[in-house]
């Protein structure tokens, strides 16, 4: 019974494929795999927007949206209708073709990333041999669409926003890839499906996730920080910085194209969260051995929503960084830590299992943290601010 519940979508697809003539089999198979993803993740986007607004409201001791439908949960529908019926304004001097293509490219690239995410057991669109590489290759296309949006609008604000966004995305793509390299080293594969399979299995009730190793813990932390920056979310939301450059690269967009940017941004966040789940949190595997009866795709979405909730929590807590702080964090802390983390993974791999291995690896993690703290203390020179008034 649990087997059937777990594989219900796979079985449904097989059943539907029985009615398709042999000529159309490949294309029908592709459509049947892609369409659920095209439905599920925009739906998740809609749910996330309302959850985020409600969550941020509660963090700030407000109610959040609570008017549209029961407890405000129809808010995304109202938002969708609003953005669809709004006038689509294109600046007179804008580069029409590029201005139109930028949001389309962003959403397409964001959707492409889902092709290699294993959502459940046997539920992945393509099991690419180089899946993780594909994911990052598609992610790099996003930068191009951001540039296209910023450049084609012929606005100083959008160009500034695009420049900031590209500088940030390039800087954080390096640690993002390096943080996931440890998993690739340990799993010995670039295929997302086999990475998840490597993390299957339990010791007692505890799963064999890569999170529960010193390098996995550090890698997950670095990956999530880089992912936050990569998806332009607070506290790394400089490219959008409402108080400085209003909305960054999509300031000149309105109506449905603006909504597409929002969709693309959130889809990118889900995709990187999904990759974090695949790499470090055991993909669709249950967190305890006695919970394996719950279908695998439910576990994937539970983990995804947990990470999204974490993103919202972070957004509600931390203020925006300054540009130099952002770059310093990437190049002076995250990148060296990611490189060190690879060393830790190597040491972990070649040492005998046991307490000694843990202690050695934790010591290697702790040393740079202590050094960093010392460095921060030295750099932090607080002084009484003197205010000067015009008289």
């Amino acid at each position: 019974m649990t087997q059937e519940a777990d594989q219900i979508f796979v079985l449904a697809k097989h059943w539907l494929m029985g009615y398709v003539p042999a000529v159309a089999q490949p294309i029908a198979s592709a459509v049947l795999s892609i369409v659920p993803v095209l439905i599920a993740f925009p739906l998740l986007f809609a749910i996330t927007t309302v959850l985020e607004r409600k969550g941020l409201g509660r963090i700030q001791n407000r109610y959040g949206p609570n008017r549209t439908g029961p407890a405000g949960f129809f808010q995304p529908i109202a938002d969708g209708i609003k953005s669809l019926t709004k006038e689509d304004i294109v600046p007179l001097t804008a580069d029409q073709a590029v201005h139109f293509l930028a949001p389309v490219l962003l959403v397409v690239a964001a959707f492409l990333a889902y092709a290699v995410l294993p959502i459940g057991r046997n539920m992945v669109i393509v099991n690419l041999n180089a899946g993780v590489l594909f994911f990052f290759a598609v992610g790099s296309v996003v930068e191009l669409s951001v540039f296209m949006a910023g450049w084609s609008s012929r606005s100083k604000y959008s160009l500034l926003g695009a420049m900031r966004a590209i500088a940030q995305m390039i800087s954080y793509e390096v640690p993002l890839v390096l943080a996931s390299v440890v998993v690739i080293m340990e799993a010995g594969s670039l295929s997302t499906v086999s990475i998840v399979e490597r993390q299957a299995g339990y010791t007692g009730i505890w799963p064999h996730w890569y999170l529960f190793t010193p390098w996995g813990l550090v890698g997950f932390f670095l990956f999530m920080v880089a992912a936050t920056a990569e998806s332009n979310r607070s506290p790394f939301d400089l490219p959008e910085g409402e108080s400085e450059i209003i909305a960054g690269y999509y300031i000149e967009y309105s109506g449905f194209k603006f909504a597409l940017f929002f969709l693309g941004e959130y889809l990118g966040m889900f995709a990187t969260s999904g990759m974090a789940i695949t790499l470090f949190l055991g993909g669709w595997a249950a967190p305890f051995s006695f919970l394996t009866w719950i279908p695998s795709y439910i576990w994937f979405f539970v983990k995804l929503l947990t990470l999204i909730g974490f993103f919202i929590w972070i957004r509600g807590t931390l203020p925006r960084l300054r540009m130099d702080q952002l770059m310093n964090l990437a190049w002076e802390f995250i990148l060296p830590m990611a490189l060190l983390n690879m060393l830790i993974a190597g040491i972990w791999h070649f040492m005998q299992p046991g307490v000694v291995r843990w202690l050695v690896c934790l010591a290697i993690v702790a040393v740079p943290c202590i050094l960093l703290r010392q460095g921060l203390k030295r750099r932090k020179k607080f002084q009484v601010r003197t205010y000067r008034y015009a008289d």
């Binding site: 807590t317 931390l318 960093l372």
Partner: protein, 207 residues
């Protein structure tokens, strides 16, 4: 520890998040159409016309002097003075505004009209719930819509209204005393004092 401040902040926001479900007094917002915050006495937004007594047409204090129309910075007041005279609240014949319109979509709530009015006829209202789906007609308030009773004025600004009432009563008493004196001095011509006194405004004597 590195990241201690971040953790503290996150604990604080988590407490806010959970606390907002438990303790209602944490929530700083009110659910607007159902609940409203009681307004402070000095609140004001758009002007209205005060009338004395039960009838708004009869008791209107405004005499159509058009000072407020001239002083209004965004020029949102439009007045047409009447050709004839009607008795005002105290029974004295006065001019009155045949048309008195305020376009509150233009009004900037500066209160200059209130400052300059010599008759205490125009005052600031506290009503802010004025949405309409007619952007031109709906926000152009005419004389009838603008007229509100002195009781209403007492209700929204009690202190100010009492002070205004006191001043008005004092001045009316003075005018009456002067008229009585004149009437006593010239009992032969009973109609003269009324016509002579009419151009003199209640506040005219203070100038």
């Amino acid at each position: 520890m590195v990241g201690e401040g971040i953790l503290k902040g996150m604990v604080e926001t988590a407490r806010n998040f959970l606390g907002s479900y438990v303790e209602k007094e944490r929530l700083t917002t009110v659910q607007y159409p159902e609940e409203r915050i009681p307004q402070v006495e000095a609140a004001r937004n758009f002007p209205f016309l005060v009338y004395d007594g039960p009838n708004w047409q009869q008791g209107m204090r405004c005499v159509g002097c058009q000072i407020c129309e001239k002083e209004c910075p965004p020029k949102c007041i439009f007045i047409e003075k009447s050709k004839d005279k009607k008795p005002d609240a105290v029974g004295k014949p006065q001019f009155y505004p045949a048309v008195f319109n305020i376009d509150i979509s233009v009004c900037m709530s500066c209160q200059i009209c209130v400052e300059v009015c010599p008759f205490d006829a125009i005052k600031m209202d506290v009503e802010y719930d004025l949405p309409t789906d007619d952007r031109f007609g709906g926000l152009l308030l005419n004389k009838q819509k603008l007229s509100k009773s002195n009781e209403y004025y007492h209700e929204i600004h009690p202190t100010e209204a009492s002070a205004v009432d006191g001043a008005l009563a004092e001045e009316r008493a003075k005018v009456k005393a002067a008229a009585d004196a004149k009437a006593a001095a010239a009992p032969a011509k009973p109609l003269a004092p009324a016509t002579a006194a009419s151009p003199v405004s209640p506040t005219g004597e203070t100038k």
